[in-house]
Subunit: 388 residues, 2 copies
């Protein structure tokens, strides 16, 4: 508790030096989905407001806070104190850190804890952690008592710009990643910038893999700003971070609002993911962080785009350079056997339709098309370029 | 509601006039839920039409047929042949018979089989069996690849009139029944009357527990017809069965259409279920069939109704007599310890809100109100009457 308070006062002090108030700092993005609409708030110090903001949403008294063993020592007490302070009765559920917690077994453990704490239909779940915790907790929320409210408190850059927004929740099977899940929108997403300060550099850079993606698929201006401001972002400058995260969330919100259940436009969010997910799958979800895998996937997709839909070679180079500048890998060494397994893994991807793998390809930076068939030879040549 | 009555009168009239063909025998009920609307077909010989009807719905080529070890030897081959004949590629997934298959473990087994058969987002699931299979297969369909289409082919009376209609799917936890699940509407419900011919008498009577419920909660005319026609129904007269099943489905469809996600009216379908589910829970989901448990639950609820909302004593007697005539239990012997466990189990019911158990009570036969608080003393006195 003492450590937490010191941690907070340090930030309060430093932030007050550069900005007059917290409130002026906070950015808000609205996801418009009719009666499932919700807000994404981005700013420092938001975790301490968790209880009051849940109260404002009219959520029931009991809740489950799902977090992992890495995040719990850092933020769980602050979350529980904030919830109790607003009159809620939280039960803290800690799961092991890492992708292996996105399993049916851990889902079952969470259910049992919620049942023991007597959660009711009006109760809610708080996902406190990175993408794994958000996906797991969201799936638990979407299915326990046939669905209850949940609040995302993403504590990693990757989760803040990607997985916490849009309502895709789920767990993995041995046969593949995210094969089980639901579309279940949160009631609120709180992106507390303070939580990024404890993030190891590799995790932070992994988040940038998704940040850069938004520039490629939707916003050439964002891509240019990233080329310019990347040093500031890598220093975790709060102003640059807040603007970047809010812009990424706004893009995702715009896409999701137009296509909640992934029947069309939403597919563009999977740029670089067909190859990226396959890389994660064949390496057993551990060797590469998600942002690293999709960094290589996006570079491969840019080669495919150049060959098939006219992306110019200068853009291919800019894309590659930005990932390199962000400290992300742009190539991977694979044996012939691994290459075969990679292509086989792509065929199990959820985006496969009629046996045909569908790709998102970029016409230019800021504009992509989806549902593209890719000839086997083109795929192999693009893989040659990233898997030397 | 008036339209519904006229619609059914028309059918009843034409059916009583002549029965020239199987086609003339079929009844159809539409569940109106916008883009999730679907038809329930009731008649003999429908299983052989499964493939063609799935084709008409434009479903993808691959599908999983989930069934159990009791139903598989009776109907699986016919289902698979019908699907193959229409060009589909089905994988048959057999699960053990009985409530224990409504578990996360069996769900996981189904997922693995679907992944091995390479089901895609446009693939679909066929639930071939009773309520357990429908709830399990529906939950699998609602979560595999974040949700795929499914078709219900209920083979028991209970499943035909109740669980196959309305989109409530789910599995059990140790802590309680149906604690995990989703709202996921089927694309089609095929109630083949032929499948009822193989149903053991006790299973058939269990289905009547739900049939009688529809009379109590919504349709005094149906209740009177049941009092009159019960002997015919118990002989499994196809004409009487078709009319009764279609009427029950129409009532459920009308209720579900008005309240898909159980925020209000839909609660009336739980008449007798708070006590019924608790009875099933404390007896380990095996001693009583669902229809038997809710028969006792409905009789207890009629006593509560008499005391709290003015149900007249003659109606209490008619309700009891109809369950007795259907061969269903109306009382249960419990030790004091079992009684305590029964009440404790009620408190874990999903309908509990703010710690208060909510009951559906009958003002008269054909009219109920929901969300009723019941004082502890009234509950104990009602239990005294059914647990002598």
């Amino acid at each position: 508790m003492v450590v937490l308070e010191e941690h907070l006062s340090f930030h309060t002090g430093s932030l007050q030096a550069s900005r007059p108030t917290y409130a002026g700092f906070m950015r808000s993005v609205r996801v418009s989905l009719g009666d499932r609409s919700y807000s994404i708030l981005v700013g420092p110090g938001l975790l301490s407001q968790l209880g009051d903001r849940c109260l404002a949403l009219g959520l029931g008294a009991r809740c489950g806070v799902i977090t992992d063993e890495t995040v719990a020592p850092l933020f769980a007490e602050q979350a529980v104190v904030a919830l109790r302070g607003a009159g809620f009765s939280p039960v803290l559920i800690r799961v092991p850190s890492g992708e292996t917690s996105k399993s049916l077994k851990v889902v079952g453990t969470c259910y049992d804890r919620l049942a023991a704490h007597r959660l009711e239909r009006k109760s809610f779940i708080v996902a406190l952690g990175g993408g794994v915790v958000g996906d797991l907790a969201g799936f638990v929320a979407s299915t326990y008592l046939r669905g209850m409210a949940f609040v995302q408190v993403p504590t990693t850059l990757l989760a803040q710009v990607d997985s916490s927004v849009g309502g895709k929740v789920g767990v993995n099977l041995k046969a593949g990643k995210n094969l089980v899940g639901a579309f279940h929108q949160p009631k609120l997403v709180l992106c507390d910038l303070d939580s990024l300060n404890t993030l190891p550099p590799r995790e932070f850079q992994s988040g940038l893999g998704e940040v850069i993606k938004y520039g490629i698929i939707y916003d050439a201006g964002l891509f240019r700003r990233l080329e310019r401001d990347l040093p500031k972002i890598l220093r975790r400058d709060p102003m640059a971070l807040a603007a970047t995260i809010a812009r990424c969330c706004a893009i995702k919100a715009a896409v999701v609002s137009q296509d909640e259940n992934e029947s069309g436009l939403r597919a563009i969010l999977n740029y670089g993911h067909t190859i990226g997910h396959a890389l994660e799958a064949i390496s057993g979800y551990g060797e590469y962080l998600h942002g690293e895998a999709i960094s290589m996937g996006q570079v491969a997709a840019s080669h495919l785009s150049a060959r098939l839909v006219g992306l110019d070679s200068k853009s291919v180079e800019r894309i590659r350079n930005l990932f390199v500048a962000a400290g992300l890998p742009v190539s991977v060494s694979l044996t012939r056997r691994q290459r075969e397994r990679l292509v086989a893994a792509m065929r199990l991807d959820k985006k496969v339709s009629g046996g045909q793998i569908k790709f998102v390809l970029a016409r230019r930076i800021g504009e992509v098309i989806w549902g593209q068939n890719v000839p086997e030879t083109a795929l192999q040549e693009a893989l040659d370029l990233v898997c030397p």
